[in-house]
Subunit: 154 residues, 2 copies
DNA sequence: GTAGGTGCAAATCGTTTGCTGATTC
DNA sequence: GAATCAGCAAACGATTTGCACCTAC
């Protein structure tokens, strides 16, 4: 097994994704560019609200609805990964859009990335064994992150 | 790997759980008994609303709030497993309360149980490798169930 | 110029909460 | 008899939608 360090923003990705939007026949509005920039540069698995706040610092005339719409578009493009938690709000991962396991701190809400390469094939294995056609997956571990443990929680 | 058949209701479990409620100092109201019976006998991973509907057939004077409260209580007792999906509503598994993988049909909403025993230890492995203290996990595979495939979806 | 995108506010949906009255122990 | 629980309705938070205006192409 392997635990990868948190992914880091990649300066080229922004250009590629802007290009991909263009090719899709989508308009390149300033809001979209700002939202895209925000979500692919955040290492914190932000909520829609957090992206909204960040984008607003730059473009005060931006609405939350547009953030949701754009995130939906980016998700469809496969540019961001939606992490649907049952409780609270959905989080977004714009750095590593392929499904990968997450460590979710139930205390502070932090989400850390893990890398368990052997899980990548599991979808195929399950498909073959059950006849269920697997399109994607989500693996979440819930618990207490090292930082919170140091503060005395467990 | 192993794919288990769907779990089946166990007639003894009801008694055990009623006893456990008693020992906790909880009251045994008819509503609670009915909700408990409904959730531990359903093989469909029902929503709160579905449990509500089913219980109402027997006790028309039951409120949705009570269903939610009771499900919360049963979850705390470890008698039911909460399956928190990002979209739509939370589902409950009263037949197999330990965490286990689910196959979730994005077409019809069906949830099938899988059994991948090697995943059981993954929590410990992750804990040791990262210092993150894992308390529970949720593994979901999303795709199209065999029944929907037969209807032409994929 | 026009299709598509945006902002705003209102609607929606699942879930939780506050309060009053009822019921289990 | 008293603490707990139920019912109801209102509150709540995240997300979606309808509509009039605007702007990137």
């Amino acid at each position: 097994m392997n635990i990868t360090p948190q992914a880091r923003p990649n300066p080229d990705r922004l250009e590629h994704l802007l290009e991909e939007l263009r090719q899709r026949g989508c308009r390149l509005t300033p809001q979209r560019a700002a939202i895209l920039r925000a979500v692919i540069s955040s290492e914190e698995h932000p909520t829609a609200e957090q992206i909204y706040t960040q984008v607003r610092a730059e473009f005060p005339m931006t609405s939350l609805a547009t953030v949701y719409n754009t995130l939906g578009l980016l998700k469809e493009m496969g540019a961001v990964l939606e992490i649907g938690l049952g409780s609270g709000s959905t989080r977004y991962d714009g750095l590593r859009p392929e499904p990968h396991p997450h460590l979710i701190c139930t205390r502070c809400g932090a989400i850390l990335d893990a890398d368990l390469p052997e899980l990548q094939h599991l979808g195929q294995v399950v498909s073959q064994a059950t006849g269920f056609k697997v399109h994607s997956h989500q693996f979440d571990f819930f618990g207490i992150c090292p930082a919170c443990q140091m503060r005395g929680y467990d």
